[in-house]
């Protein structure tokens, strides 16, 4: 048992247990806390896989941004009986059975995946190549050919850059945040 295996076992246990906690806890505040531990576990998994920037972005954006937003939503809406809405037991049983079927199916499928070429080098490209790809500098030397093609058709991969998706997603984020601020602005409450 090497260090990565031990670390993965630890992180996977923490992440899975807190994901189960999100599903099973009824109180929405406790769900938020379990979700916090799940997100931190996933970001540590990214660090274990060697994707440092993605792990840091997960910590900053998810834990520092999205989860705080969710907690604010909980604070603004959870009062009295709304904090613990009970799901009928029959629905929970049906959902649990379907979830168990789904997870076993997915695990069976994932253990049939065979990667065509095992990784040679032990490092993911770092922040520098990520930033260059986002800025539109095309990758001149792809580390490997495309996988999943029939034998004999070894097509070299087209050098790609991600400037257009980056711009689209940034404008999308701006538009969405303006829209959210417009939607959630203070209004006189309608008496029902």
């Amino acid at each position: 048992m090497s260090l990565p295996v031990v670390l993965f076992a630890l992180l996977a246990t923490v992440t899975a247990v807190s994901a189960l906690g999100v599903v099973l806890s009824r109180n929405v505040v406790r769900m938020a806390v379990w979700l916090l531990f799940t997100l931190i576990g996933v970001s540590l998994l990214y660090l274990l896989l060697g994707a440092e920037f993605v792990g840091a972005a997960q910590l900053i954006v998810y834990v520092g941004g999205t989860l705080v937003l969710l907690v604010f939503g909980v604070m603004l809406t959870a009062q009295g009986p709304l904090r613990e809405l009970r799901t009928p037991a029959a629905q929970l049983v049906v959902g649990g059975i379907l979830g168990a079927i789904l997870v076993s199916l997915l695990i069976v499928v994932s253990y049939h995946i065979v990667l065509p070429n095992p990784p040679e080098q032990d490092k993911l490209p770092g922040v520098a190549s990520l930033g260059l790809a986002f800025l539109g500098v095309t990758e001149t030397n792809p580390p490997a050919a495309l996988t999943g093609l029939p034998e004999g058709t070894r097509v070299a991969r087209t050098p790609v850059a991600y400037l257009l998706p980056f711009e689209i997603v940034s404008v999308h984020l701006l538009v969405v945040l303006i829209g959210a601020a417009y939607l959630a602005r203070a209004k006189r409450r309608v008496q029902s």
Binding site: R86, G96, D122, V169, H172, K187
Partner: protein
Amino acid sequence: MTELGLQPFLALSAFLFACGVVCIASKRNAIGVLMGVELVLNAANVNLVAFARYNPAFQLEGQVFTLLVIVLAAAEAAVALAIILNFYNNHATVDVDQADELKG
């Protein structure tokens, strides 16, 4: 890392995905449904980063797509929360079972 392999990450991601789906399907609190969506997106991200690590052809793509998904998840959470707050302002509840005004 090579002795660990891709499959344990895929199994963990499948578990996270199933948890998220059950959360979406069974929670009555709208914010709980939103948390289920976050779990599903995180499961997809774990898959992407694991494939980036174990398939040399997708080393850069996996990380790029993960970052895009993280940004989109933040945007989705903001809009969904605004909608939930509006619903709460109009109906004084966040129970998704009460949102049946369009029911035929």
